[in-house]
């Protein structure tokens, strides 16, 4: 037996990190993705008068939050791709483990 229980145990460990949705990495992704929709929300700063400069400041702030939301979404997508790649390694090694 060239691999032994160590290999199987390590694949089990990797699966605990990668499995969806309860693996530790997907859980982290969900925690990072949850606030994204809140960053998109904007309830406005209210107010009256001098609307030109105030409107520019408010809309720039809103745009800033939207960029942050988009970046966070991209980061979550990148993490999803990482987790998916790990799951494929797990799947491959399960097949190998089953043969050996």
């Amino acid at each position: 037996m060239p691999t032994g229980e160590g290999f199987t145990a390590d694949v089990n460990e990797m699966e605990k990190a990668a499995s969806w949705p309860d693996g530790s990495l997907p859980r982290a992704i969900n925690k990072l993705r949850d606030p994204v929709s809140t960053l998109w929300l904007h309830e406005g700063f209210g107010g009256r008068g001098q609307r030109d400069a105030a409107y520019r400041a408010e809309s720039t702030y809103q745009g800033y939050c939207e960029v942050l939301a988009e970046l966070q979404n991209e980061a979550c997508n990148a993490m999803d791709a990482t987790a998916e790649a790990l799951r494929e390694v797990v799947e491959l090694y399960r097949r190998v483990d089953g043969r050996i």
């Binding site: 290999f7 700063f45 408010e58 939050c65 050996i100």
Partner: protein, 328 residues
């Protein structure tokens, strides 16, 4: 807790000021022919005009800014100071600790990047909160400044009409640019932890404006000059926060997110011929020699099975979407 002059207080003060100005002009009001511009409806016009002036200092509702600050602070905390999230990261590290090779290292490196990104994103959000605090300070100072100006104008008007012998018509107006310096010097950690209570702590340098004159027109001119100065000053800060602060922070935030946008190297991907067991091997799995050929063999089988599955899916899709009738 921070407090600020309300809309009603500002409207009320503006109306009192307008009423006092009308008293200064009482001869003209009573005798329109005496007024050089012939004001036939001066009382109503003046009250409406000062109410509109007051609105120029209500450009933001401080309460809305406080609520927005609290909202984004909760987001920042959920990302950057979340023990559960840190626990998930630590657990992931632990689960992968016995895997080595270039691909395993790359996976671990990306986990490190993601952890770092979460901290950077908290910084990014913190900069948005810094902007909010500056805007909230400006909104509060704008209101109190206008109230101060109006009270000084009322005092000057009372002096002019002989109701007040002692001069008290000095407006102490905050210097709005000081708010920018205050905002830029805020400690990032304090931004996250001090809540809006810190808004009450800010004091800015003040400029003294004397609202005086020998007749009503001069008093009103002084009021207008000081008001326009305040408006310009507020507008400058609003534009600075938008153009010089937030737009620059957008560029920084985009830059901070760059590393994560790079795709995984092909040697990390099972469907790539560059994937090798040696690049992702178990430290407890024994000699990799016997395993590597089996990994490659199974990898090839996986790819073949995926291709077959894709062909089946493609055929099903073709039939479902186009049928056998050749409809396009």
């Amino acid at each position: 807790m921070a407090s600020w002059v309300t809309d009603d207080e500002l409207y009320g003060a503006a109306e009192r000021c307008a009423t006092k100005m009308i008293e200064m002009y009482h001869d003209w009001v009573g005798n329109p022919d005496k007024h050089p511009k012939g004001p036939t409806n001066l009382p109503k016009t003046l009250i409406d005009s000062l109410r509109l002036d007051a609105e120029d200092f209500m450009f933001f509702d401080p309460q809305k800014l406080v609520e927005e600050y609290d909202r984004v602070r909760n987001i920042a905390t959920a990302i950057g100071d979340n023990p559960d999230l840190a626990g998930d990261f630590a657990e992931t590290d632990a689960h992968l600790v016995n895997w080595t090779g270039d691909a395993a290292t790359e996976f671990k490196r990306r986990l490190g990047m993601i952890k770092e990104y979460a901290e950077l994103q908290q910084t990014n959000i913190g900069e948005g909160m810094r902007a909010l605090l500056m805007l909230a300070q400006l909104a509060m100072h704008a209101r109190s400044d206008y109230l101060e100006l109006v009270e000084a104008t009322i005092a000057a008007a009372e002096h002019e009409i002989g109701e007040q012998s002692k001069r008290a018509a000095i407006a102490a107006l905050s210097v709005a640019s000081e708010i920018v310096d205050w905002g830029l010097n805020l400690d990032p950690k304090k931004i996250m932890t001090d809540s809006v209570g810190m808004l009450a702590k800010v004091g800015t340098a003040i400029a003294q404006y004397e609202i005086e004159g020998d007749d009503a027109d001069v008093v009103v001119d002084h009021y207008l000059q000081a008001k326009n100065h305040l408006l310009d000053s507020n507008r400058n800060v609003l534009e600075w926060v938008a153009k010089q602060f937030l737009e620059q922070r957008v560029d920084e935030a985009v830059e901070r997110g760059q590393p994560l946008r790079k795709p995984l190297p092909v040697y990390c991907q099972v469907d790539s011929p560059d994937f090798r067991y040696e690049n992702f091997q178990s430290t407890r799995g024994g000699d990799p020699g016997p395993i590597a050929p089996t990994v490659e063999e199974e990898r090839q089988k996986c790819i073949e099975e995926k291709k077959e599955q894709e062909q089946r899916d493609s055929e099903i899709d073709r039939r479902l979407n186009h049928g056998d009738k050749g409809v396009v």
